[in-house]
Symmetry: C2
Subunit: 399 residues, 2 copies
């Protein structure tokens, strides 16, 4: 049998994925499992999007342009302008989800051996996309005691080598819910400028900022217009993860040229998804406000509930719909598996994401889990109760 690629072999499997069989087994045994592990909202997709799909009046479901349907890109331009992201339609390339946007950004900018600096914990799949490009992620730990604020800029400086090509941030942050402050973003801007780096900025959660603090897009930073590559997606804000529509936005023409070669090779992003995404951009203010209020409410409920459990600590997430909480446990991988495999409370249990998968530095995240508040409050209440009861009897409890 011919041997497979080393690339595939070194690509890490997410700790969440490793737990899926245990969750399935628990369900097959009749246990109810609350999914706090993934960013799949239970919020309804906008009626406008569903109607647009029903009303498709085409005889042929044909290729769309490789860069995306023009009317969608024009509407996205207006959308970005509402956030004072002053980009032109030509700067916007439609991708097959935010995933493809990250992959294409890396492939267009990074060669094998190149390095990017990423504050950790961070979205686990960035590592997979970097591995595809042959590039390496250099992590800088942020700390739960500091609410996962941006690490000191000197720590970034220390990691910069001749192979450093960029910095990647996710803002508001998955998995921590942290929202970078204006002061932090300015420091990043200065660093990017000083070393002439790319700033990959994943801002798919921009609608979900809960504190009075402003959302500062990478595009708000002056003087690095040609360095910024914005990663975006309609998945989270319109609860339509399945349509696979994202965008890559950059004013750097050379990057766009490279990205377009990749886009042309894969022919086109999904046609029907684009139709749904375009309709979603017409969604009522009311829909977005309702979604916002719902998450705001869940966030308070979950975080308050977590901090009431003895030994548990969650910072207050300022954005997105996750929190990274610290638990009095020996090992988050073991604990999350134990919850699925051995524990139940009133024949129910919870599926959480071990934080180890969000750290590149080995050994970090062992006492932390990511909890997505994508379930209704009643379900979050039950989940909190399950967590509390579980911690009372977990054999690996510490502290």
């Amino acid at each position: 049998m011919p041997s497979v690629s080393k690339r595939g072999e070194i690509m890490p499997e997410s700790p969440i994925r490793k737990l899926v069989p245990f969750a399935n087994k628990a369900k097959s045994e009749g246990k109810k499992v609350y999914h706090l592990n993934i960013g799949q909202p239970d919020i309804a997709t906008p009626a406008e999007a569903l109607a647009a799909i029903k009303n498709i009046d085409r005889e042929i479901l044909e290729y769309s342009p490789s860069e995306g349907i023009l009317s969608l890109r024009e509407k996205l331009t207006d959308y970005y302008h509402r956030f004072k992201i002053d980009v032109a339609t030509e700067d916007i390339i439609v991708t097959t989800g935010g995933s493809e946007a990250v992959t294409f950004a890396f492939l267009a900018c990074l060669d094998p051996g190149d390095e990017i600096i990423v504050p950790e914990p961070s979205y686990a799949n960035y590592t997979a996309f970097a591995t595809i490009a042959g590039a390496e992620i250099k992590p800088i730990p942020s700390k739960i005691e500091e609410g996962f604020a941006l690490p000191p800029i000197e720590k970034f400086e220390e990691l910069i080598t001749p192979r450093t090509k960029g910095i990647l941030i996710c803002n508001p942050n998955n998995p921590t819910g942290y929202l970078y402050t204006r002061a932090e973003m300015k420091k990043l801007r200065d660093l990017i400028k000083k070393h002439n780096l790319f700033l990959f900025s994943d801002e798919v959660y921009r609608e979900f900022c809960y504190s009075g603090a402003p959302y500062i897009s990478a595009f708000h930073l002056e003087g690095i217009e040609n360095n910024v590559i914005l990663i975006d997606s309609v998945s989270k804000r319109y609860s339509e993860c399945g349509i696979r529509i994202g965008t890559l936005v950059t004013q750097n023409e050379k990057v766009r040229e490279n990205v377009m070669k990749l886009c042309q090779a894969r022919l086109s992003p999904p046609l029907i998804g684009q139709i749904a995404a375009e309709a979603s951009l017409d969604v009522s203010e009311e829909y977005l406000l309702n979604v916002y209020d719902e998450y705001l409410d869940r966030r308070k409920f979950l975080v308050d509930g977590l901090n009431r459990i003895e030994g548990v600590y969650s910072p207050i997430p300022m954005g997105a719909f996750y929190t990274l909480a610290k638990l009095p446990i020996d090992d988050s991988d073991k604990f999350c598996q134990w919850l699925l495999e051995e524990f139940s409370y009133e024949n129910e249990t919870i599926f959480m994401a071990p934080a180890t998968g969000f750290y590149t530095t080995p050994g970090l995240g062992k006492q932390e889990v990511r909890i997505a508040y994508v379930l209704k409050k009643e379900e979050l209440a039950k989940s909190l109760r399950i967590l509390e009861e579980a911690l009372k009897v977990y054999p690996g409890r510490v502290g």
Copy 2:
């Protein structure tokens, strides 16, 4: 400005793409342009697929499983069995179009510096996908005088090095329309076995075989079950290129493991496309027969018409919906551009694909063009007339 990746810079731009601005300009000047350049059929998508989309009854357009929806994969299993491709549901991974299937196959199997042998002319985007994986395509020219039959197996042997990891074929072939014979496939099988290589087999045109000769899938070859990676797509057979649904099929568990890591990183293939694809598998026999008869008719009409033009020669394509014809011209890139930019007949012109883009060996294909018979016969008749008139006056005519 930070520098972009070398990978992106070496990725070739397809000669077809270079001509698109000229086609757009011609249209903006009021010229009618017949698109013989791309594999975008004008055939209607099955009513079953369109109805399934209209009837979607979901509140949330959520992520589907990374490997694809189970019911779709089960139906595909039955579909493959009809072609005596004896695979199990677990062997089938749903991808975002055939494009992603090729990309993931390369990433899962090939490391930077690895080589794959590909008979040329071949589908231009294979080169882009190989570039993403850092692998190199080693071409073996097939000849129009031999109807683009498989080159002698000794030519393959000559190219094999310690870095050779596989052979890629497209069968029936895009761009030539050639259908590999049983004898040729057996020779390939022996070679694959002898050198323990992967056989990447792109069989997206299996429905379109027009001669009595049998379609031999790579999966029909005995003794190399763990070497075969089948690339497939619903795009062409159901005329639904825009939904972006393909498959990667392999019995090699190690390859599937690597591919699944890539699938999980990009989360899921398009949900709505999968719903359309699943419904398409229920299409009536009549639809497929009508489509088949239509292409059969167009093929005869086009190929007969081409061979009646002085100095033009087209072999009879046995499958797919393309033919690669030889023209009495100096340079196919120049000729195709000239047709769009300078020529018109009754204010109409044609857009053909220069064959240079389908060869990796520099200098080949200069007298050849690929013509897709994806237009109605009346349009093909006009296109043939335009070609005939153009060749009479083209300044670079030779022979």
